[in-house]
């Protein structure tokens, strides 16, 4: 188009413009069109009115070429455009900012853009644009001074403060300010009509480019409704430190405050700068990723100092405003700590130190799930002090609290054991026998030291379980948690490669065997089955490799003892015989007037399976009125009965029977003696 073409009454122009407008608003304009139209509009070849009109339908379909924006800014410098049009242009740039294909040339003219900041009506938009473009290199003392001058002239304008706060992120040693909470919302310069049109276009184009223009300042909104005098539970906000900046001015650094996405983290992994207060990392999973990656000892120490201080002040020194009322904050804090530890898959050493002190004074009810959760995260405790630090305080709490507390303690110890074993299986592979369990605390441990600790823990739970079951009358809920624990214990060799097998104490085995619910008996069957697997493979390995480790003879004896008893009790209907684990005087038995007392715990008469037996009886002889359970024991029914039980979902029992009992088919009388003691 030639310069000097009249704009009024130019039908060709009008027609073409309408066409472009329609395309722009419906499908968006391709990059080249944006470039041409923007240049056309900003050059004012057709005057200011046309410029405004063109800007209004300049909706990009895919991206905006940055050269177009740079050229437009250069037109801005010519200074012919009306101020309102300049504002419109800047708002357009801000709206489509995320769609500009690259920004390096724009950053190169940072100084030109900065010069507009003194223009009063442009200033809010220029500040916003600068905010989006600012890099560490662009923060200069003279610019800071210019902005501060403006501040004295214009007062505390939010846009100036936001830009200055960004400058502070990069150079805290140049400028300092405290943002009041009402100013933390960010810039509000977007044009909603463009945004609507833009999102409509993007939706139509299947949302190829999704631009989320909302600015996050990374400032947490403070939800503290109640003013606390002491803020030790408050996470500090992310901010860069004066310290490292001044020492490494020349190096390119990326403050964590600027980190918003995982790809960004990967791009800047080499130059990320830790914040001034490590406590602030607890709030951001991205930052935690980085922390886990750098393995910086002093960073961890700083975090531990802060964390330990917060925990000690809140729960031990109680220098704050009493206990009541702060419990929701404490809850929030501990939950956050827990999720952090789970994220990092390790406990902090300050949490550990705190817990040892806190266990001595804990009432067992304050924030129970959180405290037990933290407790299950502690790394392996050396066996020399495990009893003093962990067992004694826990034991006191255990015996004096409710059933539910007992269950949660057992559960906590189970997950603690699981974590220890997992650590072992991971690190033992890496470093041979010497396992460094926690890379941040140089607590190295030999395999035998580790085994001692595990042994102590398992025995301790055995003691707790024995007494707990007695105190609670063998409550099936507690029993279930205890069996959970032994499901972990019985598989230590095969699943985690730890050459250690510990059998449950009698106080756990017999209550489980004589439990009134079939689930417990079934799980005991599974546990015995796994024990057998572990023991046999340990034996094999021992014979093959002739290694020094061996599982003590006593463990095998204990296992055989239990197995024998279980088989003869459930399968062979033999009990109370001399030489067995449970001996009862015959006369005493006679006094009880129970007919055939030795059968009362076989698979048919066991209180746990009585219901199944009745059901089975009914299915076999639907017409029979008088029930004779003993008839199941005869003939084919005895073969079918176990199958029936297995079909009811007693998989553990099935595995136990299949692994430990040789069943001879078509055995007519009273089942088969099939116990097979192993590994004598």
């Amino acid at each position: 188009m030639e310069a000097g073409t009249p704009c009024s009454g130019n039908d060709v122009l009008e027609r073409n413009l309408v066409l472009v407008e329609r395309v722009g608003l419906s499908r968006g304009l391709p990059p080249e069109a944006i470039s041409v139209m923007l240049d056309y509009a900003m050059s004012l070849r057709m005057g200011g009115v046309m410029c405004v009109r063109v800007l209004k339908f300049l909706i990009p379909a895919t991206v905006v070429p940055q050269e177009a924006v740079v050229r437009a800014v250069s037109w801005l410098c010519v200074g012919k455009i009306a101020i309102s049009t300049q504002v419109l242009f800047l708002r357009w740039v801000l709206t489509v900012f995320d769609m500009i294909d690259s920004k390096d040339h724009l950053r190169a003219i940072y100084g030109f853009i900065f010069s507009f900041v003194t223009e009063e009506s442009l200033s809010p938009y220029i500040c916003h644009l600068l905010y989006l473009l600012t890099r560490r290199e662009s923060v200069r003392p003279f610019r800071v001074r210019k902005l501060l001058d403006l501040q004295t002239k214009m007062g505390r304008q939010p846009f100036l403060l936001l830009l200055l706060s960004l400058y502070k992120v990069f150079y805290p040693e140049l400028v300092t300010l405290a943002l009041p909470s009402r100013m933390r919302s960010g810039f509000k310069n977007h044009n909603s009509t463009w945004k609507v049109a833009l999102s409509a276009v993007q939706k139509r184009n299947n949302g190829q480019v999704s631009s989320d223009i909302s600015l996050t300042l990374g400032l947490k909104d403070k939800t503290n409704s109640r003013k606390r005098k002491f803020h030790h539970l408050e996470l500090p906000s992310l901010s860069s430190s004066i310290q490292s900046n001044s020492s490494s001015r020349s190096r390119k650094v990326f403050p964590l405050e600027q980190l918003h996405s995982f790809p960004q983290l990967l791009d800047n992994l080499h130059c990320i700068e830790l914040p001034s207060q490590m406590g602030s990392l607890l709030g951001s999973s991205l930052a935690l990723c980085y922390l886990d990656y750098v393995q910086d000892d002093s960073a961890f120490l700083r975090l531990n100092f802060w964390l330990g201080h917060a925990l000690h002040e809140e729960f031990l020194f109680c220098s704050g405003d009493g206990g009541s009322g702060s419990s929701s904050e404490a809850l929030h804090f501990l939950n956050r700590l827990l999720s952090t530890q789970h994220f990092l898959q390790e406990g902090f050493s300050s949490t550990e130190g705190f817990l040892y002190k806190f266990l001595n004074v804990w009432d067992g009810s304050l924030l129970r799930p959180q405290i037990l959760g933290l407790l299950s995260d502690i790394p392996v405790v050396p066996s020399s002090c495990i009893s003093q630090l962990l067992f004694e305080p826990l034991m006191q709490l255990f015996f004096t609290s409710t059933l539910f507390f007992k269950c949660s303690v057992i559960d906590c110890l189970n997950s603690m054991l699981l974590k220890w074993l997992t650590w072992h299986s991971v690190y033992a592979l890496e470093d041979g026998l010497d396992i460094s369990l926690n890379s941040h605390t140089p607590m190295n441990m030999t395999l035998s030291g580790f085994m001692d600790s595990v042994m102590e823990l398992v025995r301790f739970v055995g003691r707790l379980a024995t007494v707990g079951l007695q105190l609670e009358g063998c409550h099936s809920l507690l029993l279930s948690f205890i069996l959970d624990f032994y499901e972990t214990v019985c598989d230590m060799f095969l699943k985690y490669g730890l050459p250690l097998v510990v059998m449950p104490p009698v106080g756990v085995f017999y209550p489980a065997l004589f439990a009134t619910d079939p689930v417990s008996v079934d799980r005991l069957g599974y546990i015995m089955y796994r024990y057998k697997k572990n023991l046999t493979s340990a034996k094999c390995q021992q014979q093959e490799t002739k290694q020094a480790f061996h599982i003590s003879r006593q463990t095998y004896q204990e296992f055989n003892h239990y197995l024998l008893f279980m088989v003869s009790c459930l399968w062979n209907s033999k009990m109370f015989l001399p030489g067995m684990a449970i001996e009862v005087d015959q006369e005493l038995l006679a006094l009880s007037k129970v007919p055939e007392p030795w059968t009362s715990f076989d698979l048919i008469h066991h209180p746990a399976f009585l219901g199944c037996a009745l059901d089975f009886h009914h299915k076999c002889w639907p017409e029979r009125k008088d029930i004779d359970l003993n008839s199941i024991k005869a003939g084919k029914q005895w073969d079918w009965y176990p199958e029936f039980l297995f079909s009811q979902g007693f998989q553990g029992l099935q595995q136990f029977v299949q692994s430990s009992i040789n069943r001879r088919s078509a055995a007519g009388i009273n089942g088969q003696r099939g116990s097979q003691p192993t590994n004598r």
Binding site: L177, F305, L316, N360, T441
Partner: protein, 397 residues
């Protein structure tokens, strides 16, 4: 032993004699004592209402539970110490014996002007976790930053250029010579001066706040276990308006990633202080030994107990087992027990049921809530060493 009994009886005689002279007047629950010659007892019952009464009714139940729970916790925490090594930092132990205080002319090592800043003022104590990347060489820039920080916090929402002339001036300075061992970091003294808004140009600026961070004879093992980026100055003494203290602490937290907490002086440490001051008596006249107990009665009863220095010294001398340079905790307990039983004999009040709240002599005074005043520079290191210990015991790791 014989000597001790003799001394106690002598003390008794003195007091009985004193009673008979009726220099002791009781009125309105407060006791006064006219000028005493050998020993006197200030004995006052404070008519304080317990604060529990003010608690809103609906809160009482929950509060009571947590209160008692917390109190028991606190006593337990203070009583036990954990000798467990977690990570690479060693848990500290509460010392059972100390060196006898040695008189030392501190002004020979430390600038007397600076010493004058520290003594004869009452300081509020806090503990500080180790400072990350604190450098004694950067004090000038810290001054600039802290003053800018204070102004910007006071004027929310106004950006401040660092290094500008402002209403506040902050001075960081090093007090060289207070450190005892090579591991001790040198003491840092901070002063905040303020210029009145309408002051003339040449008006002197007024000191509105001062504080210092120190470490004297800190536990060597602990200090050595810290990585080199950390500087441990565990004791902070402050003096000035609370609002400025909060700002200074928050600036330190932001800049050096450290944490502050209040540092109280528990009964045991107050007893130590009493014993240390008494031990100084032969060289410097302590003039009096005043102890304040609070007894858990309803309403709480405060007992002020003032002992003539010579009597106190003789009692102390008698409980000292030999003339070694170490004082053991047993000796201190025996000394305090002696004072308590003496009091019991006359007033039938068992002071050991209460807690010691305050100790003061002419050499200085200290309060349970964490306030200390050191009147004489001679024994300043001994006191600071004890306080450093208290502060280090508060470290989370």
């Amino acid at each position: 032993m014989i000597r001790r009994i003799y001394l106690t009886s002598k003390l008794n005689d003195a007091v009985i004699d004193y009673f008979s002279l009726s220099r002791f007047q009781l009125h309105h629950g407060k006791a006064r004592c006219s000028k005493s010659t050998s020993c006197c007892c200030f004995f006052s019952v404070m008519e304080e209402r317990s604060s529990i009464v003010k608690t809103p009714l609906n809160n009482v139940l929950t509060q009571r539970r947590s209160k008692s729970y917390r109190r028991s916790m606190r006593s337990c925490v203070e009583a036990t110490n954990l000798g467990y090594t977690s990570g690479h930092l060693t848990a500290l132990r509460i010392p059972r014996s100390r060196r006898t205080p040695k008189s030392r002319d501190i002004t020979k090592q430390v600038d007397p002007d600076q010493v004058a800043l520290l003594v004869t003022k009452e300081w509020e104590l806090s503990y500080v976790t180790p400072l990350y990347q604190f450098r004694h060489t950067q004090l000038k820039s810290y001054s600039k930053h802290l003053s800018a920080f204070i102004v910007s916090e006071k004027q929310q929402g106004l950006a401040i250029e660092v290094g500008q002339e402002l209403g506040f001036k902050v001075n960081f300075s090093v007090v060289l010579g207070l450190a005892e061992t090579d591991e001790d970091a040198e003491t840092v003294f901070i002063q905040i001066l303020s210029k009145h808004a309408f002051a003339a140009k040449d008006d002197a600026q007024k000191v509105v706040w001062s504080g210092w961070l120190t470490c004297v004879n800190g536990d060597l093992e602990y200090l050595r276990s810290l990585p080199s980026e950390f500087v441990s100055l565990p004791l902070l003494c402050t003096r000035g308006p609370e609002s400025l203290t909060v700002l200074v602490k928050s600036w330190f937290e932001k800049t050096f990633d450290c944490c502050f907490g209040p540092l109280g002086i528990n009964s045991t440490n107050l007893q130590w202080l009493a014993a240390l001051w008494i031990g100084c008596h032969p060289t410097i006249n302590i003039q009096y030994l005043k102890l304040v107990w609070t007894l858990p009665t309803l309403p709480p009863m405060d007992v002020k107990y003032t002992i003539h220095p010579q009597d106190a010294w003789e009692l102390w001398d008698s409980v000292r087992q030999d003339d070694t340079t170490d004082v053991s905790i047993e000796e201190v307990t025996r000394f305090i027990k002696g004072l308590q039983s003496h009091f019991f004999r006359h007033f039938r009040i068992e002071l050991s049921a209460g807690s010691l709240m305050q100790v003061s002599t002419a050499l200085g005074s200290s309060h349970h809530s964490g306030k200390i005043k050191i009147a004489s520079p001679t024994y300043i290191t001994t006191i600071l060493q004890l306080l450093t210990e208290c502060a280090l015991l508060k470290m989370p790791i």
